[in-house]
């Protein structure tokens, strides 16, 4: 306990050199030490960093994992994603509420436990999953969840949390001394690029024999395109950054893998961190950067110590630091920036703001990050998988890479497969592979629908199962959520919209308000009060949000509605009221007069047989 309010916060600021651009690290550290960032702490931080207090409050209130009010010693964050719900998260939630005697969003009176819902934590292949502080729990069952609470009640020191909660370790590096997690890799198919054997340092050694321009040419010749979903040509991005005026440049690896149903980067970070760091160093050399940042989502904090350890090893081996591998003048090091629970920070300009200790609002473009990025430096932001591909291209040559996949879509793609299938997990497939053959690999017997690319992607029905995963057909960041018989498409859409409402930064009107309105109407239809005209209303509103939104989140958030209206219209029609053609059928008279009936303590008179 602090004697002077905020004195702990001030010393934490000191540890970060009182640098306002490290505000996100500072508030996260304050919360780790004292449970929350309360008013005195905010005042102390603002004073130490020379910021307005309201600025600090604005940052703290933006991120899902930060709080200005005290949380319990143990914060249980249960994932409420669609897949987790399919696998029984609601039963787990009921079990936890019953055991603790509180509802979600509350803290026990003794201050020991908080229950919160959280968006996808990257464990859809082993759902339902939850975080207890930094510790990941997978394949939860109601009984086991209650047992877990009882165990925690008896725990003397919160520091023992990981040991107590993790009975057995997952495969591969999940059992590493610095990870010790029950998470499984579920790596089902290893392809040639990411999960084949690699020799540490080989790609970098080859890159350093070339000029930066030649490295960029190699990546362009390989036709590498971004693996995060947008598919922008990687070499071109590097070229723009290299060509931008400025002496200091920055390379950022985007490991804020927040798209529900996506977890491939988790497996790269666990099993191939050297490949990622090698790719970052190659990219740094190509664009002329001296600083690399790995932006790691808060949900993957359990991997942080391990990743820091790998970085240390690379520094010791001369693969990072001054004059990398003896290359005079090429200085490059990598720091890890932890996120704090915000999907929007996967958007590259929001991610840069977050790295600078700001709210994770996307920036106005132009200028683009390649011209004006992290702290004003020309900056490249690449997906984790993209950087791994780049390293392999330098190691094996562009010809080797471009022979994999198809003409327009070179290389492999990691898929994160979850939902109604017997073998969920990560699959490294050659680009151009059909959905149907993926279903055969993952044991999806008879899917009625598959969500390609997570909620921001599209829902595909059986008529399209022969389509191929590649840039000119089904382009995707790699999430495949499989839905089998009995799943309600409209309900899935409602859950997806809830996700976007929760994760919208709120900067622009259409995304902040439009997603709320979309969900309102989808839910009205789900409740059996929908009218035929509601389908046109939804389409028009969705188009408005798509066109008018400022960044990729809002421009894609209506996709669940638009893609299902196009392919699964019958699913909506099934829910429409029988009197759906009658105007005003969507009006719920009982709900409208409920409050007045309660106030006057009179039941409305009903006339049956209408």
């Amino acid at each position: 306990m602090n004697v002077t309010p905020g004195s702990g916060a001030a010393s934490i600021c000191g540890r970060f050199g009182n640098d306002p651009s490290r505000l996100l690290d500072i508030v996260s550290e304050v919360q780790r030490e004292s449970g929350c960032v309360d008013d005195p702490a905010m005042d102390a931080i603002a004073r130490a960093l020379g910021l307005a207090r309201v600025h600090v409050a604005g940052v703290v209130s933006f991120y899902g994992f930060l709080s200005s009010r005290p949380n319990g010693t143990y914060v249980i964050r249960l994932c409420n994603d669609v897949i987790d719900e399919m696998k029984g998260s609601q039963e787990v939630a009921a079990g936890l509420e019953c055991e603790l005697g509180i509802r979600f969003g509350e803290t026990t009176p003794d201050g020991r436990f908080s229950l919160q819902y959280t968006s996808c934590i990257g464990m859809s292949d082993q759902a339902p999953a939850a975080l207890v502080n930094d510790v990941v729990l997978t394949r939860l069952r109601p009984g086991a969840a209650r047992e877990m609470v009882r165990t925690l009640r008896g725990l003397e020191r919160p520091a023992d949390l990981r040991k107590v909660l993790t009975q057995s370790y997952g495969d591969g590096n999940n059992s590493h001394d610095l990870v010790r997690s029950m998470v499984d890799n579920n790596l089902r198919v290893r392809g040639k690029v990411i999960f084949s054997e690699m020799e540490c340092g080989a790609a970098l050694r080859r890159a350093l024999t070339l000029s930066p321009t030649e490295v960029i040419r190699e990546v362009k010749t390989a036709r590498l395109r971004g693996r995060g979903g947008a598919g922008f040509p990687t070499g071109m991005k590097w070229e723009y950054t290299r060509a931008a005026p400025g002496s200091l440049r920055c390379l950022i690896a985007n490991a804020d893998e927040g798209e529900p149903g996506t977890f491939k980067d988790r497996v790269i970070l666990t099993e191939r961190p050297d490949l990622l760091f090698e790719g970052m160093t190659v990219a740094g050399y190509a664009i002329g950067a001296d600083l690399g940042i790995l932006y790691l989502r808060a949900e993957y904090a359990y991997l942080r110590a391990f990743l820091e350890h790998v970085l240390e090893g690379r520094r010791a081996a001369g693969l990072l630091g001054p004059n990398v591998l003896g290359k005079t003048g090429f200085h490059f090091d990598i720091r890890i920036q932890m996120g704090a629970g915000a999907y929007i920070c996967g958007e590259e300009t929001a991610l840069i703001n977050s790295c600078e200790g700001l709210r994770g609002d996307p920036r106005t473009r132009p200028p683009f990050p390649a011209q004006f990025g992290y702290l004003g430096r020309p900056t490249t932001v690449n997906n984790v998988e993209t950087l791994c591909c780049a390293a392999r291209i330098l190691e094996m040559g562009s010809g080797w890479f471009s022979e994999i996949g198809t003409r327009a879509s070179a290389g492999t793609k990691l898929l994160s497969v979850s939902g109604d299938c017997t073998r969920p997990g990560v699959f490294e497939i050659a680009l151009g592979t059909s959905l149907r053959s993926v279903f055969a690999c993952c044991g999806a017997d008879d899917p009625i629908a598959v969500q390609v690319g997570g909620p921001s992607g599209r829902m595909v029905g059986p008529a399209e199962f022969d389509r191929a995963i590649c840039f000119d057909d089904l382009a995707t960041g790699g999430a495949l959520m499989v839905f089998g018989r009995g799943r309600d498409v409209v309900r899935i859409v409602s859950r997806f919209m809830a996700f976007f409402i929760h994760e919208s930064c709120g900067y622009c009107t259409p995304c902040r308000v439009g997603n709320v309105l979309l969900k309102e109407r989808v839910d009205r239809i789900l409740a059996g009060r929908g009218e035929t005209s509601d389908l046109d209303y939804l389409k028009e509103l969705a188009e408005t949000v798509k066109i008018a939104s400022r960044c990729g989140l809002g421009q894609t958030s209506p996709n669940p509605v638009l893609s299902t209206l196009a392919t699964f219209r019958a699913e909506y029609e099934r829910h429409l009221t029988r009197t759906g053609e009658r105007a005003g059928a969507g009006f719920d008279l009982d709900a409208a007069i409920a409050e007045s009936a309660r106030l006057v303590r009179r039941e409305p008179v009903r006339v049956d047989g209408d």
């Binding site: 905010m42 309201v54 600025h55 409050a57 604005g58 933006f62 929007i344 409402i501 309102e520 509103l541």
Partner: protein, 236 residues
């Protein structure tokens, strides 16, 4: 850096200078592009999206997009009018706006835009959010019910007043204006004379004890629709 160029808006060639945004160039030419979060003298935010135009076919916010030679801009089209109407509707339903007894009526830019676009009632359902009011300060009042989170007060306080009274807190539908003190406005450096106070386009930030000093009927938008000042300044 004020090299001349031309671009076209709805088929009309207009001059522009390098460094100008599309909205600024349009203003100079007497073409009104509707806007809410934009205010002369403040860094543009591009957050309300009411100024959305199509630039070479792509939707963009005119207030942040730099003018460039040969650019083809669509502004006064049926599609964009419908889009802007939808955005204005959204701003109405996400807050709690009571035009008929609001002190800002007739001088409110949100209300004026609704009139300009012929909106009698929003087409979206009201969300009736629970919002808070900060009356702690002796001279000024912050009513978040009428706030459209445009951020003009946030920018004006920093850029014009040299203070940092306001900023955003929360995210998504919970995004709101916060003030620089745990004690509310009373604990901040705000004064009734702050440019931030005058920057509010709605009745969210009000100076106390001057209500209805200008009577209804004598207010800026009582006689001319919003945007008339821009259109009047046209050289034609």
């Amino acid at each position: 850096m004020s090299e001349a160029m031309t671009l076209s808006i709805d088929g009309r060639e207009i001059p522009a200078r390098h460094g100008q945004t599309v909205l600024e160039a349009a203003d100079d030419a007497g073409i009104y592009i509707p806007r809410l979060c934009w205010m002369k003298g403040l860094r543009p935010a591009g957050s309300c999206r009411v100024c959305t135009v199509r630039i070479n076919g792509r939707p963009q916010a005119a207030c942040t997009f730099p003018a460039a030679p040969g650019m083809v801009v669509e502004n006064d089209t049926a599609e964009l009018a419908a889009l802007r109407r939808a955005l204005i509707d959204m701003l109405f339903v996400e807050g709690n706006h009571f035009c008929m007894f609001c002190e800002k009526s007739g001088a409110c830019e949100l209300q004026a835009l609704a009139y300009r676009f012929g909106i009698a009632a929003p087409k979206y359902p009201y969300l009736f959010p629970k919002r808070t009011l900060d009356a702690s300060h002796p001279d000024v009042l912050l009513d978040r019910n009428r706030c459209i989170v445009c951020g003009r007060c946030v920018r004006a306080s920093q850029e014009l007043d040299g203070k940092h009274v306001f900023d955003f807190a929360g995210r998504g539908r919970d995004k709101r204006i916060a003030v620089d003190s745990a004690a509310g406005l009373a604990g901040t450096a705000v004064t009734a004379q702050d440019r931030a106070m005058a920057a509010c386009p709605t009745g969210s930030l009000l100076v106390k004890r001057v209500g209805f000093a200008v009577p209804i009927g004598g207010r800026p938008f009582d006689h001319r629709p919003i945007g008339s000042d821009v259109e009047r300044s046209s050289g034609e």
